[in-house]
Amino acid sequence: MNKYAPGDVRPHLTRDHCLHLMKQMTRIRRFEEKCAELYTQEKIRGFLHLYIGEEAVATGVTEALGPEDAVVATYREHGHALVRGVPADRIMAEMFGRIDGVCRGRGGSMHLFDVGRRFYGGNAIVGGGLPLAVGLALADKMQGRDRVTVCFFGEGAVAEGEFHESLNLAALWKLPVLFVCENNGYAMGTALDRSESETDIHAKAASYRLPAEVVDGMNVVEVEAAARRATGAIRAAEGPYFLECRTYRFRAHSMFDPQLYRSKDEVAAWEKKGPVVRFRDWMVAAGMAHEADLARIEEEVAAEVTAAVAFAEASEWESVNTMLEEVGALG
């Protein structure tokens, strides 16, 4: 997935690379639009948290990772899994709760895991993934491996003790963790300034003595550039790095959310500067892409999503007889 040499810390905005970024963001967008539709058809149940509006963050950050690096994500992680290379059909089957899902259908939307791609969830306790990422990085450091662990979390996690404990530990032990705060402005329905005395999250992070930047999370190129800078510094054994990516969730927190806490005007204003539309317009204006390129991407993505749904539909349920398998200390 990473066609750059290790240590190459600047993005190269070739036509191919730009089309690749566009395709990755489009994959997330179309996949999740289909998920929302399938939710209303009751094919997908439980909680469904859509990433629509935030695609540039996962897409840009993932560009800076190699296959040996690890990813720890949250319950809003379909996009991260997709761009990490987890097959869309296995993700969709997981969301259907079917046996061919990445986790045999046991985890569902909030708990995608793919060990082969070093994708460690799918963690649905806010803040709970941060210590895990610290530990993965500790193992790498103790074993002398040149790897980075990326930990995605929302700005809501900043209120959790685990955020502070983990930043401190990672900085204290100089561990190779890239902390990526996806600041979409709302912890479920609670706006940032209603829950935090200091709303500049990167400033909080900096107090633990790790480099911390604020990034326009709606701009995929800016995110990728920052992530490359960050992973470059981490790989140079400088310790952890922190990116606050300012972004916005266009859809409800989950499918149960009536969105009483924000105005339609606010959502519309953010949608105008959405990561996909903005990048598309820039590519066309800069002569990087033609309408035919964009149409081809849409076609390829539509085919991928259609195939994923068909795969999920065709998959079986796990037998109740194997429900007790894969739990520790059975005997």
């Binding site: 793919d114 060990v115 530990g135 103790m142 074993q143 685990e162 530990l169 894969e326 739990v327």
Partner: protein, 325 residues
């Protein structure tokens, strides 16, 4: 070769031997390195293995326990020390929601081969935030293996197989056991499945674990003077419980008293009592008795702390009642 050592020395020695045998093993926790461990278990280890593998942590139970989970997934074999079971509650999110859950929730992809050692129990007048016995909270959680070594031998021998387990193991060390001296054979291998009969008898089964074992054995001696032969079953493994051993001893003696330092309500003693009812109801000659801690936060003054905990006289009285005497 058998020698006499303290429980504290046995735990320290087994950690040391594990670290010598496997480079992936390391220990982290509050004051394990420079201080030498709150209960002096890890004294000397930092000097021998360096502070990379004997790692002092900040007072961040959740983060360092979670870091242990991540390091275990990342190929290490961490031992996390939590100073006392009351503090472990700050790490309970990581233990339950991550360590115990990942293998099943990920469809078998992610195991967490982590060992967590937790000091537990009362008896040192440490009052209500350092003295509780919450083993049953952990024994309630699918995905964990929960051990309660009650002897010096088990304190030494249970760690090596715990580190071999592909899933999380919690080891509870009762604070009143650290100073006890007993024989140790370091070549003997422990299993992590079965309960052990520590004293044979035919009249009544006294079922216990951890710090209550010495008191229960003492009670059994007192009962001998009354002409009652008590069998003492040490559970050793609190999850999964050795159901067969429990039912076997009760089916033999037809009477049982469970001795458990946890609070009575919702205790392990309640679980064991229920299992006896389900599996050996028709074998019983008397209702199952329970000796647990009083349902209060453990108080500081010695006389109140003593009165709150299972003691030899209460165990004897419960056994006598079960015998109808």
């Amino acid at each position: 070769m058998t020698e006499e050592v303290t429980y504290r020395e046995a735990v320290g020695r087994t950690i040391r031997d594990a670290m010598k045998a496997d480079d992936r093993v390391f220990i982290m926790g509050e004051d394990v390195a420079r201080y030498g461990g709150t209960y002096a278990v890890t004294k000397g280890l930092a000097e021998e293995f360096g502070e990379d593998r004997v790692r002092d942590t900040p007072l961040s139970e959740s983060a360092f326990t979670g870091a242990g989970i991540g390091a275990a997934i990342g190929g290490m074999r961490p031992i996390v020390e939590i100073m006392t079971v009351n503090f472990s509650l700050l790490a309970l999110d990581q233990i339950l929601n991550t360590a115990a859950t990942f293998r099943h929730m990920s469809g078998g992809q992610v195991g967490v081969p982590l060992v967590i050692r937790i000091a537990t129990g009362a008896g040192r007048q440490l009052a209500a935030q350092h003295s509780h016995s919450l083993e049953n909270w952990y024994a309630h959680i699918p995905g964990l293996r929960v051990l309660a070594p009650a002897t010096v031998q088990d304190a030494y021998a249970m760690l090596a197989p715990a580190l071999q387990d592909p899933d999380p193991v919690i080891i509870f060390e009762h604070v009143m056991l650290y100073g006890r001296t007993e024989p140790l054979d370091t070549s003997s291998v422990a299993d992590l499945r079965s309960a052990a009969v520590r004293r044979a008898g035919t009249d009544i089964s006294l079922i216990t674990y951890g710090g209550s074992l010495p008191k229960t054995l003492e009670a059994a001696e007192v009962l001998t003077e009354e002409g009652i032969g008590a069998e003492v079953l040490d559970l050793r493994v609190l999850r999964p419980l050795d159901n067969a051993a429990i039912l076997e001893t009760v089916s033999k003696t037809r009477r049982a008293v469970v001795v458990d330092e946890g609070w009575l309500t919702g205790s392990l003693a309640a679980e064991i009592s229920a299992r006896i009812m389900e599996g050996a109801f028709w074998e019983l000659d008397a209702p199952v008795g329970r000796v647990c801690s009083a349902e209060i936060p453990i108080p500081y003054p010695k006389h109140l702390e003593d009165a709150a905990l299972p003691q030899v006289d209460r165990i004897v009285a419960a056994a006598m009642a079960a015998m109808g005497r």
